[in-house]
């Protein structure tokens, strides 16, 4: 994936893009993101007018609709501060997808400006802030699903670096780890049979290790995988990497729950 050169930000003031999935379903993930960022010394601003990154329409092929949403995103997230988002896929929409659909649009420069300051959370923590170690202990065997929108970006290595720095965490290698979970946004409803088969395969591989936690940096993947797991009556707790980091920090007494 082609990504823009990003400047490491001078200030620790950031704008949080919470994501529509956290807005609708996973409030604790967004909360953990704020807690982790504040622990890292950031001043977190939450622009109230935010909605969604525009990716659903972009992936569905309705670029006109998607551009309408991205223009709203540009309205809401103005200025120079880094925009930090707890999702590899929403971040990739910001620094890659949007550029594609605005290639022939007059406001491409503004899209580029936003793209150059859009960061996925773990990438920002490691490469933006230089954090290498998370204090605290979480005793858990973790299967980390590296979501596909992090392919070719710094997100995968960053998330693994942070998770493995936490005392007590054992990262489990599982079969066909690089394979997609089958979510793919609108793909999950327009190709439900293939999507389900891909999800089942991922879950089989994960379950083979009997992990304590299935973790990801993308709640889209976990919404889909979790949905299949719950429907079949099986049990694997799911957590966003931000929640695991937050739990470690709480254990270390660095932050309050």
């Amino acid at each position: 994936m082609n990504t823009l050169d990003r400047q490491v930000p001078a200030s620790k003031s950031i704008q949080l893009m919470a994501t529509c999935l956290c807005d609708a379903f996973f409030d604790d993930v967004a909360k953990a993101t704020v807690q982790v960022l504040e622990w890292a010394g950031c001043n977190v601003e939450f622009p109230e007018g935010q909605t969604c990154c525009g990716q659903p329409a972009f992936n569905a092929g309705d670029w006109k609709a998607s551009r309408q949403v991205v223009r709203h995103v540009m309205d809401v997230f103005q200025g120079e501060k880094p925009v930090v988002v707890p999702s590899g896929s929403c971040a990739a929409m910001g620094f890659h997808g949007a550029l594609l659909e605005f290639e022939k649009e007059p406001d491409l420069p503004q899209v580029k400006q936003l793209a150059s300051r859009t960061w996925e959370l773990t990438d920002y923590l490691v490469n933006g802030l230089g954090i290498e170690k998370i204090p605290g202990k979480v005793s858990a065997r973790v299967s980390f699903h590296r979501s596909c929108h992090s392919r070719g970006t710094c997100t995968g290595p960053s998330a693994v670096k942070l998770l493995s720095s936490i005392e007590g965490i054992e990262l489990l290698p599982f079969g066909e780890q690089e394979q997609c979970c089958g979510f793919g946004g609108a793909f999950s409803v327009s190709f439900p049979n293939i999507s389900k088969k891909m999800g089942e395969l991922k879950i089989e591989h994960v379950l083979a290790d009997n992990p304590d936690i299935l973790a990801s940096v993308d709640m889209g993947c976990l919404l889909h995988l979790g949905g299949i797991i719950d429907k079949s009556g099986r049990e694997i707790p799911r957590k966003h990497v931000a929640q695991i980091i937050r739990d470690a920090l709480v254990e270390a007494g660095e932050i309050k729950e």
Partner: protein, 471 residues
């Protein structure tokens, strides 16, 4: 509950016999693993640099294709070959047939070539009374079964050896025996005879160097060599995108194509052909004709998806694709299946683009195809571009099953409407499943997965309190 299918490829995958799925899945997975091992073992530091470089060489060639075609024509002519240009597939077939008829050709042997699949050369020649024999083992099996290739490198990816043994038995090629070696030996005996009987050998080409006109053919069976050993006439039918600028570029591509396609450092045979038989040469065709085929490639070159023409047909993107693995190649209803086919086939369809506009939808956009591509084609980006094209052109089969986005865009660009929706969403928590199923997308979601509890706006409430506490 089996989910309803809206998309033809999803339906095809749903209805695919278990046995076929297992064959395709295992075959593509193991080939992918071999690719990974061979490329990263030999180029641990530079595998991606090689892919990127090869991509740049191909992109450069495409951007100067007119010059390189002219240069290739000159070089080939100087080497003694005759060069023809065919603007369409039909035209390529006509040229080939005319060459054969003028020379009284009755029987033709042919090595594997995707472009001749595209032009439907074999049925065309057979109609004109010319006996055609596919000599690549996989293509031979496809031919005797009156089937279609389901993979661009392994045409019988969808068949297992028991099925093949039955086909051989049916064709009088010996009693039932599903031992691969026996099958191969029987095909060999059968095909040897055909090579001697044939008056003409038809091949494709994997690469053509514009600098020297040197043509490269790679096989694992040596069948392309045999196609040219006893025949007097060699016709090479080649897509115009097969050019590379210089002979020295071939080292890069030959290093990549075997590893990418089959996990081999090199394929078993690499044949460098530099014109027809020269005086003193013991064998080889007396005449060599090269037919360069456009067949909508210049239209693709002018489109926003021109990068797809870099493709060297290695099949790595098929093998790694989780959708291909579940659906198999025939699901794509076209000559080129898998990720590359989902881009190329609708483009090569020209006016019939809407008929194949659903192909670019058959992807979770996971990006694995781009990661393995030896010429670094940004396939997911191209799939997205074609989705947008499908939407703009109102292709119905592309939009089937995709929730309409107009309402979403309206809400997502108006914070007040968005926030209201976050509050209203709680209705989902108390809506009975039966009512949810009225909405097709909701039915498709819930037939496979449970939806978590709606908690719309909870984070905003917390953040509001949190900010107040901070002040």
């Amino acid at each position: 509950m089996t989910p309803k299918s809206f998309q033809q490829i999803d339906k095809f995958a749903r209805d695919l016999p278990k046995e076929v799925r297992a064959t395709v899945y295992d075959g593509s997975k193991s080939t992918s693993e071999k690719r990974y091992d061979s490329i990263w073992r030999d180029y641990p530091e530079t595998a991606d640099v090689l892919r990127e470089t090869a991509g740049k060489v191909k992109q450069h060639t495409l951007e100067h294709l007119d010059q390189y075609l002219e240069q290739a024509e000159k070089s080939l002519t100087a080497a003694g070959a005759k060069v023809h240009f065919a603007s369409t597939g039909d035209r390529a077939n006509e040229i080939a047939l005319k060459l054969m008829q003028e020379r009284g050709v009755k029987k033709m042997v042919k090595s594997k070539s995707m472009v001749t699949e595209e032009t439907h050369l074999v049925p065309y020649l057979e109609k004109a009374g010319i006996e055609c024999v596919e000599t690549d083992l996989g293509e031979f099996i496809v031919q005797i079964d009156h089937d279609h290739p389901s993979h661009i490198v392994k045409p019988i990816m969808h068949k297992n050896r028991r099925q093949i043994a039955k086909s051989f038995e049916r064709e009088g090629l010996g009693d039932y025996n599903d031992d691969p070696e026996t099958i191969t030996r029987r095909a060999r005996v059968h095909l040897r005879k055909k090579y001697f009987e044939a008056d003409c050998g038809v091949t494709g080409a994997n690469f053509v160097s514009a600098e020297s006109g040197r043509m490269v053919l790679i096989t694992n069976e040596g069948n392309a060599r045999f196609c040219m050993a006893a025949t007097k006439l060699h016709i090479a039918i080649i897509g115009i995108e097969k050019l590379v600028p210089r002979d020295q570029d071939l080292s890069l591509f030959l290093n990549l194509i075997g590893r990418s396609g089959t996990g081999q450092q090199l394929t078993v045979y690499q044949q460098f052909i530099n014109g027809p038989k020269t005086p003193g040469q013991p064998d080889g065709p007396e005449e060599m004709h090269v037919i360069f085929v456009d067949n909508k490639r210049t239209e693709v070159l002018a489109s926003e998806c021109k990068e797809i023409l870099r493709c060297i047909r290695c099949g790595a993107c098929l093998n790694v694709c989780p959708i291909y693995r579940q659906a198999s190649g025939h699901a794509y209803r076209s000559v080129y299946p898998g990720p590359v086919g989902a881009v190329l086939s609708p483009l090569l369809a020209g006016d019939k683009f809407p008929e194949l506009a659903d192909l670019p939808k058959a992807s979770s956009l996971c990006g694995a195809c781009n990661e393995v591509c030896p010429v670094n084609i940004p396939i997911p980006d191209l799939l997205l571009c074609l989705r947008d094209k499908g939407k703009r052109e109102g292709a119905k089969n592309a939009s089937a099953g995709t929730p309409p986005m107009g309402m979403y865009a309206m809400m997502a660009s108006q914070p007040s409407a968005w926030k209201a929706a976050m509050r209203l969403g709680y209705a989902v928590n108390i809506t009975p499943q039966a009512m949810m199923n009225v909405v097709p997308a909701a039915q498709a979601w819930t037939s496979v997965r449970q939806l978590p509890k709606w908690r719309g706006g909870k984070f905003r409430d917390w953040m509001g309190e949190h900010d107040k506490d901070a002040k």
